[in-house]
Each structure stands twice: as C-alpha cells, then as structure tokens.
Symmetry: C2
Amino acid sequence: MNYMLKDENAIYYECGYSCDNALYLSLGNEAFFITDSRYTIDATEHVRHATVMISDDLYARAASLLESAKVKQIVFDPKEWSVAGFERVHSRVECVFEPEPDFSHKKRIIKNEEELKILARAAKLGRKAFKTLAKEFNTDGIGKSEYALTHQAKSILSDFGKYDVSFDPIVAVNKNAAKPHARATSKKLDWGDLLLVDAGLKYKRYCSDRTRTVFVGEGFDFTTQQIFSKQKIQKAYDTVLKAHDNAILNAHSGMKAKEVDALTRDIISKAGFGEFYVHSTGHGVGLDIHEMPYISSKSDTIIEDGMVFTIEPGIYIPNAFGIRIEDMVAMVDGKAVVL
Amino acid sequence: MNYMLKDENAIYYECGYSCDNALYLSLGNEAFFITDSRYTIDATEHVRHATVMISDDLYARAASLLESAKVKQIVFDPKEWSVAGFERVHSRVECVFEPEPDFSHKKRIIKNEEELKILARAAKLGRKAFKTLAKEFNTDGIGKSEYALTHQAKSILSDFGKYDVSFDPIVAVNKNAAKPHARATSKKLDWGDLLLVDAGLKYKRYCSDRTRTVFVGEGFDFTTQQIFSKQKIQKAYDTVLKAHDNAILNAHSGMKAKEVDALTRDIISKAGFGEFYVHSTGHGVGLDIHEMPYISSKSDTIIEDGMVFTIEPGIYIPNAFGIRIEDMVAMVDGKAVVL
C-alpha cells in the first residue's frame, strides 16, 4: 500500500526522524523523506529506511515522485493535511487519493517492546517529577499564583529544560479544578486548598501523563492517599479513586473500550456523581499525548495487549471543586499494568 | 462578504476571544462563534460582536448555519482548514467555497493604534527580559548547557509563567549558532564563546521577537556593541550590524518589501558573505509570530504605515559560527521605528 504523511509524529514513527517541514512517502518497497535545506544535515544523519530528498517545494517534489513512480492510488489522512497542502499535491498528479482518517494512529495503536520500554521510562520520570514537585510546593509553593506554580511544574517536569513537556501542565486550585481543561489564573495557593496537577514529559519523543488531586496540608504529597477537610470533597475523592482503581484492576484484553469506560463510570454514577463526570475514562498515549485507543462510552475498539492508555476518571462540581486521578497503563498478558 | 475561520488567532482578531476548538462564521451582518461546552462560560463572557453557539459537532453546526442563512458563497483560507474539517462542512451544504490563502493575515497586515500599542509593550517587555537574561547568564550561565540556558531564557522571557513565550527561545553557542533554527544541545557555555539568543514573549496575545549575538566576556550584555576575540567573527558581526542598521534607517513606506530586503542583502553580499545569508530579511509580527508582510527578495508587497515586521539579517558559517541581529520595527509616518 502506498501512503503519504505530513504529521511530524507520523513521520517520526516511520523513519526515526522528523522536523517541522517534512513530507513522507511510502511507495511500494521504497520510502522518501522530503524536507528543506535547513534540515539536510540532521535528516541525512538520522532518517532510517527512506531516501532523503531536499527541496524548497515539498509538495511539488512529492507530486513528481508520485508521477515518476506511476502511482495509481495513495492513502492519506485528511486530518493531517491542510486543504492547501493537499491541493498542491493533488492538483499536480493523476492518482486516486484515498482518505483514511487516523491512518498513522491506527498503525501505532499497539506498542512494540521498544516503545513499551520508552513509555515506561517516560512514566517513571514523570512520577519522579511529581515527587520533586511535592517537595518544592511544600517549601516554596504556598502564596504563589497558579501561573507561577504552572511554571514551576513545567521547570521540574522538564528537569529544567532537559525534556520537553507532553503539554502545558495544568495546576488548578479549588474551584478552578472544576474545569477539566483549566487555564492558570492569578489565584494563590494556600494551606487547606485542593490542588489538582495534570502533567507529563516526553522521553525520546514519547509522552507521559499523570494527574493527582491533593489536600494541601503540611507535608502534602501526590500519592493517592488523601484526607480532605471537607466531607463533600472527600466523598467525591473516594469515589474517583475507587473508579480509578476498579478500572485498573478489572480492565483486560479482549474487552471493548466502552466496557473499560463503564468500569469507572458505573461507580461514579452509582455514587450520584454521574452528571459531574463530563469526559471519557482515558486516551491512548504514545508519540502523541492523545492517540488511540480512546476509552469512551461509545468506543467498540477491542482492548489488546500492547495498548497504552490513561485511566483518568473525574468529578467536576462547577464553582466548587474538581477531582481527577490519572495513571497510564499498558496492557500486558491480558491485564492493565500501571506504568 | 461571507467567510469562515478555523485558526485560533484569526478568530481572536474578529471577536476578542478564541480557544482550541472553535469555528467562526461571518455571514453578512451577523457573526457566529461556535465552540463546545467546555468553553461556554469563557466564550459567553469574552466574545464580542458575535453570537456564541455551543455544539458537540462544530462542523455540522456551521453547515446548518450556512444552510439556514441560504449562503451562496463563502470565503475560507485553505491553509487554515484540514481536508477532514473542510469536508465536514463542504459535504453538508450547497454553497461555493472560495479558497483565499492568507485571508486573515491579509486583513491583519496593517495594525491599528491599539495593536501598535500592544506590540510596543510586548517589545518593551522583551527588551527588559534580555537585560535580565544578561545578568543571569553572567552570574549563573557559564558551564550550563544550551538546554539549561534555553530553559532559563524561557523562564525569564515568560517572567516565570506570567506571559506565554512567542516561541521556544533559541540559545545557541558557537557553531550551533550557524543553524538559523538551532535546537539546543548539551554544549556548555564558556567564557570567550559566541552566544546567539533569539526569543520573544506574548503580551495580550501579541508577539515580540528579538535576536542578539554576543561575545561572552566578563559583564557581557545584549546590546549591539560587541567586541569578539576573533577577527573573522568581528568582520561578519560588523557586516550584519551595518545591514541591520541600514535597513532600519532607510526603510520607508511606499517601498516594496524586496527593496527593504535589498537594504540588508546588498551590504552582506558586497562584504562577500552573500552565500551565508540564507534567509529573508524579516517577517511581519502580530498575533502570529510569522505573518505578513514577508521581507524577502521576492516580495512585491508595498510597505505601508502601520505594518510591523522584523529586520533580522544574518551570516551563518557552517561548523564555525552564526550571527543574527533582529529588532521589530513599526512603520510610522513613513519611517521604521524600532519597537
């Protein structure tokens, strides 16, 4: 099958290198990595299993490759390509362009041994960063704004620039935690607050992702054992933790993703918080922070060994507080193993 | 004229708010901001001059708006829209979709008074950050890796999380500076090195952008008065500075962009460095870090009052060193004023 890729991670997956201006074509037994002259040195050194081509018009170069190879049909992911970029290839060559949404994500849904090792390492570094963060926040976080705490989280997650972060960390206090995608505000952290931290880093381009919600008492940490001063919060917290643990314990290969979702959702619904659980149980993690499989109530995807995804149930009470507990798991020998 | 927008900054420009999942439709005298329920509160509070609509299928909602308003023709920027997203509107409605590349960038090429003030403020904050950075690097930068220095630059540019950065700062030492888009390495900064820093921050979503190349001697700073220990570097530096100053002094409204480009290129070419000046003189700056006008040798764009762009000539000697000096200018009363 012939295919053409535009997305940076999709290309990296094929040939072990990518950059922000590249196209990748797989044509029968041959593959081509096309980039511009700024990346000649790096591409030549790092691209594996593909011929590097340098051009100041990537799209025209791709079209002429398709033409000279007399390609009749080629697959592309319409989510990856802009209308303009696609047209610059499409308009130049007689060929059937077959849209295949999530083409690369589908290829990447099962992780191989090497990827599993890298993801485990990313998760381990992420866990370590949360420990460091707890120390820092205890000694130096009280009285700081969410902005400043977010920056501090980013510094520590990245090990002061050594790693990229998977995404801008979410650091949300009290009612701001009620927004699943909270943006930092000038709200300052105080003793007795609820604090939600959702953060990850990239190791060898693979992402980690983790969330903890904690009570900010003396010597607080990011373990899942938390005692809140308010009973209502504690009840929600215990429910989320129970849902989280239940999914990790009972998810197994062969289930549908929606059955895994039900492992968290049923517990939260039965506890009366169903309407406040406003998102899916989790998402795949790999080169992209969000990839397949999606662990949602609508997904019929069969869970298989080698898949890596998050379990992250939550309860969000508007204008009051939000709870989320998230870990990454890999499916190994039929069961979910926390990374 | 009817138009539909997908890009976050393009949408912000129209209505003063945006988020990472939004569509904007301008239909005759009416405008619509479509987003999902995660953003209901923020969108309702901040969107101006447009009706906020909440939907879990933005594309279907846009199509039904086009249908009910009986729109015959609508403009879109094919660079902004993915093939998949565009098809989800296009396939649902009988209407002529007219591609207009850079539609929003063209609208935004002349900055109004308010935008000029914001950009001046962004540039001022950026300049101040470079001063702070000089102090930090003097006392604490020697022996640190490019990774760590990049992180330090990001911390200071963002004022420790208060501002977003315009882009990941480039901090490059000696031969790594020879790559215009250098990525940080483990190379450590030492006294006597050449240091290139290219960095900016966002103030009210508008970007600043600045580059300095300096000699790392005791008490070094990021002014343009630099004395290098090697004569070859000094010659290249003086040439770049002369080119930079010449363009700022002689650029005027009514010129073509390529004539402004020639103001830097001619000086560098005459000094014998022409082949090492591998990019354009500059680019527009606004909500996007790269926007119109592009100050390149091929651009016939007429420079006008209210345009804001960079002047950033450079000389890059592979495996040896690179020099770039960059400032942002606004065209005011026919002349270039450094921001």
